[in-house]
Amino acid sequence: MSAMAAAQLKAGDTVPAGVTLDLGFPPSKIDLAEHVKGKKVILMGLPGAFTPT
């Protein structure tokens, strides 16, 4: 699956591997696919920090 043209996330998919998120600053690079193994999580993406909505 190409990171540039991935299909929209849907039930049954796995969390994308090989892509990190930044935690803190300077950031820790978190491999989310690894991070969520064995856990129950809610993954929430929003359009922007500090936006009124």
Partner: protein
Amino acid sequence: MQIPGYLAAQDALKAQGIDEIVVYCVNDGAVMTAWRKDQGCGDEAIGGSLLKFYGDPTGAFTRACGLVLDHPGPTYKGLIMRTRRHAAYVVDGVVRAVEISEKPDDPAGDDFPESSCVESMFKHIAPGVALDVKLPEADC
């Protein structure tokens, strides 16, 4: 608008076995950490609440999820190649349910965010269980 509801409901979510709520945006880690503090979700990179705030500064994770927000409306407001408003319930790395809040005339889910808010997601996590939490008025 999602955040206050999830924060208010974090104990109910913990009781259903939720280990973490991963909040991410196409922003840097410093902004996300500052927003986390602003939202009363903790003031350290780790710890303070069930909600952890992550940056996806290059948008690589957003692209890998196929959830790039590129509608001209939000783009005009300065939200360039951001993340479409969504929430997913993930168990051991596998997505069980995804809710994306968007409509043709509400591409960023500003007006109708409900599907990705905590009441909606709780129904996926604990079908048939009432979410017995007073949600803040600011919640969607």
